[in-house]
Symmetry: C2
Subunit: 108 residues, 2 copies
């Protein structure tokens, strides 16, 4: 049986190849494939910023070895950074909520 | 609707809190929680190496800020490194298989 963590790791690999396999080097995302991936998988995160300049910026930031393409390791770094940012956002919400409840209890 | 990539990111957050919430600081994995997580979620990867010295080694490697606990960012670094290693393993297998098929065709 596959654990939730193993399923998540498998999903990351699946998502990458779903887009990287469309044209050119099937082990790398070119600019068009990266744009498709960002628009279809991360639309909620990049809402309103799906224009070419945003894709260009993300490509430049990710493409550490400057070959104009994003390999699997560079893709995982993007996902890791986004997941850490999401987590921080949720933790902040929870902590604010707890502080709010606590101050509410103090006023009873 | 949630994309496959968003589900994977959500799963990473879920797995972390499933273990980190058991005792002490609920936003961090202590040694016992890390051990439980490794054994339950990554048994296939660490098969036969689930002993205390392995947990100790992973804890030391991950715990960048040396507080004896693993925070979410340190956890994501572990998962990212494992996923990249898995991917490299699969890519090698596929490439070997393709090379094998190609050499087979050459001998027809």
């Amino acid at each position: 049986m596959c654990s939730l963590l193993q399923r998540a790791m498998e999903d990351l690999i699946k998502v990458f190849y779903c887009y990287s396999g469309k044209e050119g080097d099937k082990y790398k995302l070119n600019k068009k494939e990266l744009k498709n991936m960002l628009q279809e998988e991360l639309a909620d995160f990049l809402n309103g910023s799906n224009d070419s300049s945003m894709v260009e910026k993300i490509m430049q930031d990710l493409d550490e070895n400057k070959d104009g393409e994003v390999d699997f390791q560079e893709f995982v770094i993007l996902v890791a950074a986004l997941t850490v940012a999401c987590n921080e956002f949720f933790v902040d919400c929870i902590k604010k909520d707890e502080a709010h409840k606590k101050s509410g209890e103090g006023h009873k």
